[in-house]
Amino acid sequence: MATIDLDNMLAKIKASQWALADIDWEAPGAEMISEAQWPKLKAFMSDLMWIEHVGARGFAAMAKKAPTDTLREIYTYFHAEEQRHANAEMALMRRWGMLEGEELPEPNINLRLTIEWLDRYSDDMPLEVLGSVIPMLEIALDGALLKFLLDEVNDPLCHQVFEKINADEARHLGVDFHVMEMLGRGRLHQLAVKTIGTVVSPKLIMGVLAYAPLLNRMRDNIVEMGLKEERLYEAMDKYQRIGGRTKEGRRNPWFQIISQHGRMVVDRSHIYHKPVDALVKLSNYIPRRALGPVPSWVKELTWRPTA
């Protein structure tokens, strides 16, 4: 994945569009989900589709910051594609009898907090922050969650769907890392000044307070389902490897911060986990009412292939 030509990438993206209607959601295979799997899978899918949706909102914010028209258009597509993933995953849930009527799966409280943060502050974040965090989320998904899912679930339709999703994700990662390197190309002291300015901003601190417990809760959920947590760590490792393979990538201070954070997350004995796990527990006590109604962008989610 050396630097890529973004114009070619945009053309490739446009030529690779697919729709829920391309898939036969009634095809046989749904019965291959075992009773024992069912409740865990339901929780897993629900997290997964919300993370896609959160990623979608992240790309929407990045589109506003994109330095060129081409990158703006790419991010506009990625925004829609993550939404497509969420929609397709809901359609799978529906197929497996995990959704009733028009209901959306319930997001866990940490996801809910993250959505809240994205809605309020993501548009104010510089491209550097989102451009470095999003690859981490994407790689965690690609590397850990999806592989796990495909190991566990035999329904052939599920494999068919994730083949399409993975093809999209490969393009996302290509652009993600290209941009991370691009962001490391500026003057070093400027990068540093801008970074410090952002790190101390209350908006970002709020974001960290939402993001850190989210990662830990996901780790807990995954472990509970039987995924080896090493899978998640391998994925984070991959972030450091690919993100740090060039000088420009390593020079991006946000890459350094997030890698450092990744190392703490991976190290179970690190003091980091004390407060963060406490936050996870604490967040269980947040009453849903305190959060108010979900933002209206969430309401665009749908499992129906046609409207």
Binding site: K14, W18, Y77, N87, D123, P295, E300
Partner: protein, 511 residues
Amino acid sequence: MTIPTMKSGARKATPRQAPATNKPHDVLIVGAGFAGLGAALRLQQEGVGDLVILERADDVGGTWRDNSYPGAACDIPSNLYSFSFAPNPDWSRSFAGSREILDYVHHLADHYNLRQLVRFGRDVSHLRYDDKTGLWTAVTQTGETFQARSVVMAQGPLSNASFPDIPGLDEFKGHKIHSARWDHDYDFNRKRVAVIGTGASGVQIVPELVKKVDKLTVFQRTPGWVMPRPDFATPQWNKLLFRRVPKAQESVRRALYLAHESMALGIIWNSPLTGLLERVSEAHLNHQVKDAWMRRQLKPDFRIGCKRVLMSSDYYPALQRDNCRLITWPIARLCENGIRTAEGIEHQFDCIVFATGFDVSNNGTPFKVTGSKGRDLDTDWKRGAQAYKSINVAGYPNLFITFGPNSGPGHNSALVYMESQIEYLVKAVKMMTSEGIKSLDVRKDVQRRHNHDIQKRLAKTNWNSGCKSWYLTEDGFNATMFPGFASQYARQMEGFDPGDYRVVRVAGRPQ
């Protein structure tokens, strides 16, 4: 994929009479819109009598004959969107609808006896200059030919409706309508309808269509800046006043003109006024749209003026009606039953309305134009169209273009610009007929100097501030807009200096 283009009301005309009468006309005009009729009218008034107008459709009116979609209207006040030499005291509204503007054009055509000059159903496909005789020949689709000493290309800047370059355009089995070729027989009652495009036409169609259909879905790629439009009916006393005291209407026109001129400060250049206009538009958005996400979807992210400013007070409310939905996902393709967008959903419709604009030839010509020594205008313009004062092109003697390169108004009535062009060409043609001039060809160096200056001034404008629009060619060359006030344009067009031209007189005529 080629983008299909629809020509206005073009119909196959069988050649009726014998081609090319023996005597060439003084002036041949292509197009019977405002520009073509206005030119004919003024030429006649100045005593140039031998004219012919070729029009491909079967009526006069151009833009206002073709754009009859619900809600079609002018977004320049009617008192300014009319010829100063033919005022209309009876405008029923501050911003007249398309039908009323067409009536005004009909009035011009009838009152000044212009229809008899028009040959309808003549779709010009080639203009050819002959160096030996100094005459132009116009060839129509059917092979009919017409000859004249001078030609006015008044085929309109926005007359070829275009469909967007979307995969699967032909797969859709439902009804397709282009805003500029409205289908008045289609019954929208109880239909699920899509509108693609949210430019000048889109924002006018949506508020009307939403009242008629069962479900309306609006597909937006780029949101534009929207300004409130103070549209009201003209009170009766006002009409009476204008009829009895024409001076009163003149001064209202003058005031409107100046108001629009002052807008130029904010729209053409990045000035404190630019920020102010953006804030007015933003306040309009925030006032009319409640939902934060929808506001975000509708908020433009380019500088105001870089694209045409939209005028509407009922567009935002229409989008929020229960039966309306705004979609900002990119369109992936059209399919049998509707539109598939990139979020993976197929949106199904009975009818798709394309409010997607026009083919703008800013680096080419709409039909073949062959000039002196066989040169081809399309080739000469490949890298961006250039002309002298927007109206003449070196190497194409006796050819006058309305809305030629760098004549576009971004902030004021097109007719104000058009009048300057018409007066300029009238002066030139009058000189040609009275002095027996065979060819009048603008000097290359004069044209070069003019364009150098124009591009230098354009570099400082909002249009060239980095957003894509139909004003610019693919490589960002601005061959469309005039970088200045309408009054500066008027001044540019005021002086016709024969010294700028190479003049050849008909042999045997004294100097």
